[in-house]
């Protein structure tokens, strides 16, 4: 007891008598809360306007709720079916009831679309059957359904329904890598003429690597020149890099269409100089060349800026030291200068690559059919084919790639050191 009082007496206290340690901890906690309160509005905003929409979209890539929602009785009736031959009469009755209800609520079209992704022709089967079965009021429904459409006498149709009974599916992801489920639910490759996505992913990947390579090739010399020139010249040259960077993407894409199209500026120049005859103008746009040239131009500043900021920090005396120790220009450059710029090359490359694999606008405008990338296919499924599940699956694969690369970028540069302008 006496000891305890003595201990307390020894403690440092603030004016109101609380021990200093507790008081500091309390003040610290208050500060932390204040800091978080400053961040909170933006965090909540980003959460609702951006992160939740992205997560919501990701979930669509495995979502299969339309079948269990619109055909609940059928799903229940098929639960005990062993998949041999045709299902029992009650499954037919359940399907007939679900179709009538679905036709009333107009949801049956969703089922038709969903089934059509898995097996082409199912849209007609479902819509036709729903129309005919509406006037049938009593069983046996097996006969009535088969009469409405003979697909219902095929066990494969029923196996498909049973396989899609679960509210989740991996089907879209399989589609996104050119695979599908066969009749028995095993995974198999898509028929040749439907295999497009793996090729498209590979094309996106290779074109992004090529574009990244080209930006290094073009960006390195000019970044080096700007880093070694006196400031008043390099600032002027910097404007030539920053002006494209600040110019609207649409303007730059328009500019390349104007430059490259067959009646365009570059072709006119080439014909005038005599490289090509007037009737043999090369096709430079609406194909891969167009996409590569325009995207290299658009992404070049993203390579030059990080390279420049790294090169700026390398003291010129290192090169002079190497030269004075007997290295020639080339050796000094390769062994002394270049290794110090690797972090800049890494940062720039990942930045350009991340931007390139997700590019949509430029390939859509100058890519024709051979120069489009995976983003264009996502937009196609979003806006034209309306196969949103597949669009989401392709999107999630792209997103996962980008996030992985971003972590790499963060490792190399650290996002807080990212420079703009």
């Amino acid at each position: 007891m006496a000891e305890a009082t003595l201990d307390q007496g020894d403690l440092m206290r603030t004016a109101d008598g609380t021990p200093l340690k507790i008081s500091i901890a309390r003040a610290m906690r208050r500060n932390k809360l204040k800091a978080l309160a400053l961040i909170a509005p933006l965090f909540v905003f980003i959460l609702f306007s951006f992160l939740i929409p992205i997560i919501d979209m990701s979930l669509r890539s495995v979502d299969n709720s339309v079948i269990p929602d619109v055909l609940p009785n059928t799903v229940a009736a098929l639960a005990d079916w062993d998949g041999e031959g045709l299902p029992p009469e009650e499954a037919f009755a359940a399907l007939a009831a679900d179709m009538k209800a679905g036709r009333e609520s107009r949801d049956i079209g969703k089922v038709a679309t969903r089934l059509n992704y898995e097996l082409s022709g199912m849209r007609g089967t479902v819509m036709g059957t729903a129309r005919r079965i509406a006037s049938v009021d009593e069983g046996p429904y097996q006969e009535a359904l088969i009469k409405a459409n003979k697909d219902w006498s095929d066990p494969a149709t029923w196996k498909l329904l049973k396989r899609l009974s679960s509210p989740y599916t991996m089907g879209y992801y399989l589609n996104a890598v050119d695979m599908r489920f066969d009749v028995d639910g095993n995974i198999e490759a898509q028929p040749d003429f439907r295999q497009i996505y793996v090729d498209l992913f590979l094309r996106t990947f290779w074109m992004s690597i090529l574009i990244t390579g080209l930006t290094i090739l073009l960006g390195y010399p000019i970044a080096h020149l700007m880093a070694t020139l006196p400031l008043r010249y390099s600032n002027l040259l910097m404007i030539l890099v920053l002006l494209p960077f600040w110019t609207s993407l649409l303007v730059r894409t328009t500019a390349w269409i104007v430059m490259l199209q067959s009646e365009g500026v570059l072709n006119d120049l080439l014909v005038w100089v005599g490289v090509f005859s007037d009737d043999a103008r090369p096709q430079l746009v609406y194909n891969k060349i167009g996409t590569i040239v325009a995207m290299t131009h658009i992404l070049l500043p993203f390579m030059v800026l990080p390279l420049y900021s790294v090169m700026k920090t390398i003291p010129p005396s290192y090169m002079r030291a190497a030269r004075s120790l007997g290295a020639n220009q080339f050796t000094a450059f390769v062994r002394i200068y270049m290794p110090q710029t690797l972090s800049g090359i890494g940062a720039g490359s990942i930045l350009v690559f991340i931007l390139a694999i997700g590019y949509y606008i430029t390939p859509a405008l100058v890519g024709g059919t051979s120069g489009t990338l995976i983003s264009n296919q996502i937009a196609y499924h979003m806006q034209q084919s309306l196969n949103w599940g597949l669009a989401a699956a392709l999107g999630v694969i792209l997103l996962a790639t980008v996030i992985a690369l971003y972590f790499l970028y963060n490792r190399i540069v650290g996002v807080d050191k990212m420079k703009l302008g």
């Binding site: 610290m28 500060n31 932390k32 800091a35 400053l38 961040i39 933006l42 965090f43 905003f45 980003i46 306007s49 951006f50 992160l51 929409p53 992205i54 919501d56 979209m57 073009l218 010399p221 000019i222 400031l231 030539l240 890099v241 002006l243 600040w246 110019t247 609207s248 993407l249 649409l250 303007v251 730059r252 894409t253 328009t254 500019a255 269409i257 104007v258 430059m259 009646e263 365009g264 500026v265 006119d268 131009h297 997700g358 949509y360 606008i361 405008l365 983003s375 996502i378 937009a379 979003m382 806006q383 949103w388 989401a392 999107g395 997103l399 971003y406 996002v415 420079k419 703009l420 302008g421």
Partner: protein, 283 residues
């Protein structure tokens, strides 16, 4: 990097060759943007230089496409939309982003890396994915095809730039200035407007300009979220380039290039001012 006096002929050739190549690369960067400016004054609907233009015949030039732009209600409407959307989303993202950057720059803020990652994610995620996600979600909550929806979407896309530029400005910010002001009896709002704000203003403005250009130039999200009523200039250009390609687009492009030159100049001036304020030599 002047050529040293002891340089041999090989080195001299390399020196000039290297500069020549660099010159070509700079031309590659700038020529496409410069080419569209004279072409926008073309008097005929071609996308290339006519013989009249090359011989500097005044008849080869006209303001025809600019008149076309001004007299076309669709373009004017998109211009209005672009400005309305960009201005409101810039204000929102500047306010939200600056507050968050202030919070993030405190030394004791917990979970900094994770929060930063979440806040700048709209900049990392490819636009097509953001647009897809926003399309579903904004449709569900009834914000698709409204100006408000697009403003909110653009705000989300613009905030990372504000957070990054303001955080960068705050790196050189002396936190003890805040304590000094408080010590002298200033209330928190006074501290903010009299001490913090003047010092970080260049960063805030350049972040705001980035947010503005992000919104002003954005087309993928608009493509997914906009109805005819919300068409912006980039969307109008995008559909123009896909359908009926007319030199009016070049006139618009020239106007946009002028705007970007103005923005670039402001950002450069602000950046230099900010570096001077922090006591650093420019670059």
């Amino acid at each position: 990097m002047a050529l040293p006096s002891y340089a041999g002929p090989g080195e001299i050739a390399w020196y000039y060759g290297y500069r020549f190549v660099c010159g070509l690369i700079f031309l590659f960067l700038i020529i496409p943007i410069l080419v569209i400016i004279p072409l926008s004054f073309n008097s005929v609907p071609f996308f290339t230089f006519t013989p009249e233009m090359l011989s500097f015949d005044p008849a080869g030039y006209s303001l025809r496409w600019y008149k076309d732009f001004v007299n076309n209600p669709q373009w004017i409407h998109s211009l209005q939309n672009s400005f309305i959307i960009a201005i409101f989303s810039t204000i929102l993202s500047t306010v939200l982003g600056t507050l968050a950057a202030l919070g993030l720059s405190k030394p004791y803020t917990p979970y900094k890396a994770a929060i930063m990652g979440a806040l700048i994610s709209p900049m990392i995620v490819p636009l097509i994915i953001s647009a897809t996600g926003m399309f579903f979600f904004y449709t569900n909550v009834g914000l698709a095809q409204t100006h408000l929806g697009i403003i909110l979407a653009h705000t989300a896309l613009g905030t990372p730039f504000v957070v990054i530029t303001v955080t960068a400005t705050l790196v050189g910010f002396d936190q003890s200035l805040i304590r000094a002001a408080q010590n002298l009896g200033a209330a928190p709002p006074t501290v903010f407007f009299k001490v913090i704000m003047p010092l970080i203003l260049p960063g805030v403005i350049s972040g705001g300009l980035f947010a503005f250009i992000t919104s002003f130039d954005e087309v993928v999200v608009v493509l997914f979220l906009a109805d005819f009523d919300q068409r912006t200039i980039p969307l109008q250009m995008f559909s123009g380039l896909r359908e009926q390609i007319s030199p009016t687009i070049l006139a618009v492009a020239t106007i946009l290039v002028t705007i970007s030159i103005l923005l670039l100049t402001s950002v450069e001036l602000l950046r230099r001012r900010s570096e001077r304020l922090r006591g650093m030599t420019p670059q």
